[in-house]
Amino acid sequence: METTTLEPTAPVKLTAKDFTSDQEVKWCPGCGDYSILKQVQTVLPDFVTEKEKVVFISGIGCSSRFPYYMSTYGMHSIHGRATAIASGVKAANPDLTVWVVGGDGDLLSIGGNHFIHMLRRNPNIKLMLFNNQIYGLTKGQYSPTSPKGTVAKSTPYGSVDEPFNPAELALGAKAGFFARTLDRDPKHMQAMLARANAHKGTALIEIYQNCPVFNDAAFFIFTEKETKKEEALFLEQGKPLVFGAGDSKGIKLDGFKPVIVDLTTGASKDDLWIHDETDKTKAFLLAGFADNLETHFPRPFGVYYRSERACIEDDMAAQIDAAKAKRGKTALNKILSGDKTWTIV
């Protein structure tokens, strides 16, 4: 007998427009957030087919208005708590695609505790850290990522505290995925968003984001033609660490010590450090480049580290399934009566 199988109609591919809400975007002209919003809306159609299953959660800050501009489900919550709320959403319904948006103040200062605990628990959530090294919405105070000595509204004599190195903090908190990208490099950002999306577990993308009003040009050395080649190092899996005009420089490892070498004066590409995203020790070394302790290193961009492990929402669900399989659901009447009862007539 002949049978015909009906091919399920492939869902119509969504477009960036499908992810754009009817709300007017109200960031300052020239804000790096516009680019991030655009890239996210551009790549999401590649990631999901059902936008009703997408939830964007944010805290407070300029970047945290993000969910209002997405036509998915979303919540603009309270300062620092987006990661905690998102953890609850994901644990409650693991089928949802959950993204968290936050700034350096929101995620690393007031929300620092929830940030590190989310990383260690590793829910399958995509976490975008918009790092502009300044407090924007409160109008220009230094942030926990501002370099020491930052002169800002609350620090007219310069800040006196050491900033966080977000990559080190995240790796120390057992992040399973850390990548860094730039608002002014749409292609690279899209690639990093895709990598984060493909990673199962908490995927943290730190995005250097320009605040044109309170901290303009903070990252221009990494994005502008004149300096980019010397100051930015783009990581690629399995490729040597090369930077500089005409790929003239490389980084090799002398034991655990990174050393910059000049490829034009005899150093060989074969001796260079080959990037391995799965090597946590090297990821820490890359993270340390930002601190410029002895040598001035270029800033690495790309995937520093990735390693998949169990996600908390899956483990929670597995425990429940195992308990159900082993003991079965206890009937409500049994719960109400407990084990020890007596009768009064």
């Binding site: 489900y73 709320i85 959403v89 319904n93 429940i320 009937a331 020890k340």
Partner: protein, 629 residues
Amino acid sequence: MESTLETKASRPTETREVDSIVIRFSGDSGDGMQLTGMQFTDTAALLGQDLSTFPEFPAEIRAPAGTIAGVSGFQVHFGSKEIFTPGDQYDVLVAMNSAALKNDLHRLKRGGVIIVNIAGFDSKNLKLAGYPEGSVSPLEDNTLDEYTVYKIDVTKHTKEALKDSALGMKEIERCKNMFVLGVLFWMFDKSMEFTLKFLDEKFGKKPDILSGNITALKSGWNYGDNTEIFTIRYKTAAAKLPAGIYRNIAGNQSTAIGIIAAAEKAGLPVFLGSYPITPASDILHELSKYKANGVKTFQAEDEIAAICTAIGASYAGLLGVTTTSGPGLALKSEAMSLAMILEIPLLIIDVQRGGPSTGLPTKTEQSDLLFALHGRHGESPLPIIAASTPADCFDAVYEAVTISIEHMVPVIFLSDGYIANGSEPWRFPTEDMLKPINTMFLTENNNPGGKFLPYKRDNRGVRPWVKPGTKGLEHRIGGLEKQNETGNVSYDSANHELMIKLRAEKVAKIADRIPLLKTDSGPEKGKVLVLGWGSTYGAIKTVMNELHAEGYADVSHAHLRHMNPFPKNLGELLHGFDKILIPEMNCGQLLQLIRAKYLIPAIGYSKVQGLPFDTDEIKTKVLEVYNSK
């Protein structure tokens, strides 16, 4: 309360019938007094006696052994009559060491019975208990002349009974509470059967420990039976409680069960986000056992994350719950306001304890009422439900969940350390007796032809609940002020005022479903109304029974469960009495609300000692108010 124990016996081992007894088990934190008390209680319960318990333990896990700070007590009041409190004073004090005797003797009834472990009265123990160096033991001087004292070397007898056991000396010493329990079972004519079964379940996999405990228990019983030091045994008949099937239950346990029952009736899985805190942690412990029923428990990194994960879970369509005590409630304050303005269901449980700050973590208080009512920034009213007894926690939390889901509003449930840890018999309901809970998820656009309106309200002021994942209803919510109906961000000043009014009206309208307040006992109009709330119920109830029996027919008692909104007829009820007396374990918080709202000169009676009211205290106060001009 009348004394129920006679101390002078005419002949050896006479058996007396008594209608109620209060026993206080008192010892070092490591002596196992809580377990001993619970075993005695469960046995009394299974024999059909009414009862009320009061565990009292120090905040320190193991304060230095032998000191006053390390004394852990368990009080049980049981008998054949109706019992509403653990008792003001005890008939029997079991003191395992000098510190226990010193700490608890003052509440033993004159003529009461003391059972002491004399091994706890050597010079070292006396010194640890704070008796001056070289002073005579209270067992040897005339301190205890007014009492009947049974001196037993529990430690020695336990060691002798277990001399052939495979247990080490430390483990043998741990069995001494079972010896004492055996003596008490004999003395109060109670079967060891229940405890034997309990031990078998607890230590079934450790045969040496099991047999050691059983031997100690039976040796205690035999000691009572064979030695001639005891002159009286006591018998209590089963209580004449309403017919039905009962279990014994503590407040935290009935709170946990109430949540599970309500979730099942609402058709929602439970998600508990919690951070451990005394005295609320037992709810987390209890709920974490119910994985097979789909309960998700999440031990968060702090109190804020605890409520925020619960908010996330509620947003995703589960029954979000968070449990805490006073200091934790303070930390949750900002998130409570978020949940309030989001208008999502959320159950917030505050098991109150002595405050402010860390205060008295293991002691009880009712001092979070005003915080629950007002402790949020902005105009942020929330419904508040307060439980009155350990078993009532079930009904009260069930109602809290019902209101939260059906009115799309976070609800604060107030319990306190006294009823959370105390227990009583509970004529538990069966599933079919529980009221249905109406959970409604919107799946279709409520504005046909236009955009979905997430903040469009029904005639009760309630907005729809939409689960993320629902196609076509994608929308954004948040803590910024919303435009009416659309939920879009709006800074419009008139809209802000309107939204504040709409949210407040929604909470106020909950009064439409709350039953009118009736007196618990006494007439609806009269001379004095004692208005209580929360855990003062048992003490007031006991006083009322006494006063009514003594002929004070114009004294009444009404008890509030709904702290916000109040029952609609509360003002009318209050105005039916010449005087209103409000006893509270705080400095007059309900008093302030009642005076402000109803403009009546209610009289407060406050006790803030970390301890529940004695019935005598309340009775004296009621009579003072009754007799004043």
